[in-house]
């Protein structure tokens, strides 16, 4: 090993010949953005889009919680409440959690990490974004056309009978599915074809591995969802008799179709988050990731097993004993690669050089919250216990610990980590740390009480409830107000940094993967000289400390 040869000569790239131009300022005007094929600009447009979707979904969540302050409900009648909680779920799942990390941070960082000029299929990449936008417009149109009150799961036969804009939102999901498939396809090709010379599979950063596993799931699972929503639309319009028991159809068949996609979808959502955390734990501990290969393979193992556990969403539907046996067994089995990841992250921190900056604080918050989210999943895997807990707030709390507490926090962590890379500016670190603490407290205050009321029997999707559960609902509502303050702060200091943030450093955090070795912010085609990889991944003996103190131009 020639350990002293730098991967690329980073200083050369800070030289004035770059002229201070980067992907943000090399061209301007509306069409330079709307028609761009640059993965970084597309990533930024995704970032703006998914952030707006997240804030809308968050507003709906706030309304839901405020309504539940009192057992009789404070704000809405039952029909209105049902629409609001459905909007919360549908916006968060389809417009935010599924596309957020691959679309924004993945697009931004994946080609940088591979040492590539762009993704393999830049036009397809832009099409993915416009499909996402079309889906978002259709979803908004569905609200205008009378809304929908089916829950994000669209369970039949209710979704076939309800007099609302179910077909429109179904069309939105269909279109969003293609956006997701195209992104996955693009990333698979990019990883296979555009790795820099010397970047072998086991030298790829784990965020790349995670996006690769995610992409496989997106390509293989999403078509099933597309077909399912199409069938629901046909059933509503032409009364064919697939899911409608009045016409000889089977509503349980819908549940199978739906979860055949939507369980892998949970991993489409969470694997990119795992990838971000793997990167950040290593960079901010300045230590190679513990058990690199095991983490890489566990991503693939999770991707495969996740196709075989969908039935655990249906333990109370009256499946056969054999189906229950297999689904419960495999559900417990998928806990193992997930546990390996958590243990490996914690082992990476051990004896590291731990920087308590804001990306790392978000990462530590993730590690604690994901431990709770994952472990409560084990409780739900047991067949007899799940029968009691199914469709209660225990399940609601569990998946919010995974979807909101883990995935959204990993997204925030990645956003803070790559913000200086993307924009060349730093946000206010002090405010960022305070906001992280407020979000952590607010999140736990919101969802810990839901575990208790859930295990005590509070069913989910209730517009009103028996007074037994009032104190826990009240605590949860107070929590969400704290959470809202934290998120509001985060939006404020991130946006403010774009206008008056101080300049970031070339290599703000001291990363050694290729994304930190190209100029900051990156020029149009990322690398002036095609990079060549000669080191193992996460080898911090090669860290150029100088680049951590060189401001961006």
């Amino acid at each position: 090993m020639t350990t002293n040869v730098p991967v690329i000569d980073t200083h050369a790239h800070h030289a004035p010949e770059a002229g201070g131009t980067n992907y943000l300022n090399n061209r301007s005007g509306f069409w330079s953005w709307a028609g761009t094929l640059d993965h970084k600009r597309i990533g930024l447009m995704y970032l703006v889009g998914v952030s707006i979707a997240f804030l809308c979904g968050g507003l709906f969540a706030l309304l839901v919680r405020l309504h539940l302050w009192e057992p009789k409900g404070m704000l809405f009648d039952n029909a209105q409440y049902n629409q609001i909680f459905t909007l919360h779920g549908a916006f968060m799942v389809f417009l935010f959690v599924i596309p957020a990390i691959p679309g924004s941070l993945g697009n931004m960082v994946l080609p940088l990490m591979l040492g590539a000029k762009d993704v393999a299929l830049p036009r397809l990449n832009l099409l993915s974004f416009y499909l996402w936008l079309t889906g978002a417009v259709l979803a908004t149109l569905a609200i205008v056309l009378g809304g929908f009150d089916t829950g994000w799961t669209f369970y039949t036969p209710y979704s076939l009978y309800t007099q609302q804009a179910v077909v429109t939102i179904g069309l939105a999901i269909f279109v969003l599915g293609f956006s997701s498939i195209f992104t996955g396809l693009n990333f698979i090709v990019t990883v296979h074809k555009l790795r820099a010379p010397g970047l072998t599979w086991f030298r790829m950063p784990l965020f790349v591995w995670a996006l690769y596993a995610t992409s496989l799931l997106q390509v293989l699972a999403t078509p099933v969802l597309g077909i399912t929503v199409l069938l629901v639309a046909f059933e509503r319009l032409y009364h064919i008799g697939i899911f409608d028991p009045r016409l000889g159809g089977d509503p349980v068949l819908f549940e199978h179709f739906f979860w055949f996609y939507s369980h892998p979808a949970v991993y489409i959502m969470v694997l990119p988050a795992f990838g971000i955390i793997s990167e950040l734990v290593s960079v901010h501990s300045r230590k190679p990731l513990f058990g690199y290969k095991l983490i890489a393979f566990s991503s693939l193992a999770i991707a495969i097993i996740s196709f075989l556990v969908w039935g655990h969403h249906m333990f109370t539907s009256g499946q056969s004993t054999y189906a229950m046996f297999a689904f419960s067994f495999l559900t417990f089995f998928v806990a193992i690669p997930t546990a390996i990841k958590e243990f490996s992250w914690v082992a990476t921190i051990w004896k590291g050089s731990i920087a308590l900056n804001s990306p790392m604080l978000y990462t530590l918050a993730f590690l604690i919250i994901f431990a709770i989210g994952g472990l409560t999943g084990v409780i739900l895997g047991a067949l007899n216990v799940d029968i009691h807990l199914h469709d209660t707030y225990f399940v609601v709390a569990h998946f919010h610990y995974v979807m909101m507490g883990s995935i959204a926090l990993a997204f925030f962590a990645g956003l803070h980590h790559w913000w200086p890379k993307m924009f060349g500016v730093m946000y206010d670190e002090f405010l960022a740390k305070i906001a992280c603490a407020i979000i952590f407290i607010g999140f736990n205050a919101t969802f810990l009480p839901q575990f208790i009321m859930g295990s005590r029997g509070m069913p989910r999707r209730y517009a009103t409830y028996v007074p037994d559960y009032a104190p826990y609902h009240a605590a949860s509502t107070v929590g969400v107000i704290i959470l809202t303050v934290g998120i509001g702060m985060m939006v404020f200091y991130l946006v403010a940094s774009l206008f008056q943030g101080k300049k970031a450093m070339q290599n703000q955090w001291g990363g050694v993967t290729l994304d930190w070795l190209c100029p900051t912010p990156p020029p149009l085609e990322n690398f002036d000289v095609p990079p060549k990889v000669v080191h193992e991944v996460y080898d911090y003996s090669t860290l150029d400390y100088q680049s951590m103190q060189t401001p961006v131009r």
Partner: protein
């Protein structure tokens, strides 16, 4: 969207009006106090809970110690160790959790067999629970019925065949640890053995539309002597006032989720003003526009119209928006004396003025 934000108070109450007393909680505060024989649920829940707390404490402990010991003091401080893996350690933290989860799996599967295999004694005591938007009808082994509440005998295994006439519902008794989706077109049997006398919540746990959260019933577990008195069969119609009172209680269990009695529009039309009282004590029904096979007609409300509207609701639909699409499901199995009680209650609303 903005229309959704403005509150419209003129609707039927959206909440449960007379719930069972608050449910008792077990010693550890996490589960409702068990009132059936399914103690393996609680056993495995707490076993898993303790294992989870153990792993959580270990994980958070290692993170906390690391942050304290290895916090970066100078900006260019390298890590203390560059270890990339440790095979024995990785084998340990793969194999030990695997063994633990397999124990949980086996325990849980065994428990679920107990819950799904209906014993002989329970299937001889077979009730029917019929779910429809948004109420429960219970049929006793002897064929009698009750609405919104059901009585069972303590210490005697009981089975419920669950059926739905419209969409998905779920039959959920938290304190019995019983839950089963109620699927239209299928009849599925659940069983339990109640061990404690008391009144318990029965929730619908699968989202079923507008008044999902109001789809509530009570389970009364009573002693053998009390059960022999057939408490569900009490129906006092000795005087018109008593019949109206019986009708009122049936109204609250069965009809109130859609029909108000104070003129506030609900899912269905209000009962207010159906009858007016004459000076001689008789009642006159109001004039009403209805749709018969899509044709508008004006009829006078009378007993026959009410009976028809309960048994075959689509025969004459109220012509006024938004009720002109119909949608009420047929209640063709209510005994005649009970329908008479409901009519008496409607008439008593005129007296109330």
């Amino acid at each position: 969207m903005f229309a959704l934000l403005t509150q419209d108070p003129a609707r039927t109450p959206g909440h449960i009006e007379n719930p069972a007393p608050p449910l008792a909680v077990d010693t550890y505060g996490q589960l409702p106090k068990l009132a059936s024989t399914f103690d393996h649920v609680d056993g495995l829940f707490y076993f898993t809970y303790i294992v989870c707390i153990f792993f959580f404490v270990v994980i958070v402990g290692v993170i906390a110690v690391s942050v304290v010991l290895y916090r970066r003091k100078t900006w260019d401080q390298p890590a203390l160790s560059n270890v990339t893996h440790n095979t024995p350690l990785e084998v340990v933290w793969t194999v030990i959790p695997l063994i633990i989860v397999m124990v949980m799996f086996a325990w849980g599967f065994k428990g679920s067999l107990d819950m799904t295999n209906v014993p002989e004694a329970a299937s001889r005591n077979l009730y029917k629970a019929t779910a429809k938007q948004w109420n429960w009808t219970f049929t006793y082994p002897n064929g009698q019925q009750s609405f919104g509440e059901v009585w069972v005998e303590v210490d005697k295994p009981v089975a419920f065949a669950t059926e739905s006439t419209d969409v998905l519902h779920a039959f959920y008794l938290p304190q019995m640890r019983v839950k089963r989706d109620v699927i239209p077109g299928r009849s599925q049997v659940v069983w339990f053995e109640p061990k404690e006398v008391g009144d318990y919540h029965l929730f619908c746990a699968e989202y079923c539309g507008n008044d999902h959260s109001k789809m509530y019933a009570q389970l009364h577990v009573v002693s053998a002597e009390e059960f022999a008195k057939k408490p569900w069969d009490k129906w006092d119609d000795s005087t018109p006032a008593a019949a109206a009172k019986s009708g009122e209680s049936l109204y609250k269990q069965l009809c109130a989720s859609c029909h108000s009695v104070n003129g506030i529009p609900g899912v269905g039309p209000s009962w207010k003003g159906l009858f007016t009282k004459n000076a001689d004590g008789t009642f006159t029904g109001r004039q009403r526009e209805v749709l018969v096979g899509g044709q508008k007609q004006t009829i006078t409300v009378d007993d026959a119209y009410i009976i028809e509207s309960i048994k075959t609701p689509m025969a004459k639909i109220v012509a006024e928006e938004p009720y002109n699409r119909g949608g009420m499901s047929a209640f063709d199995n209510i005994e005649d004396r009970k329908i008479a009680g409901l009519i008496q209650y409607m008439k008593s609303l005129a007296e109330a003025k």
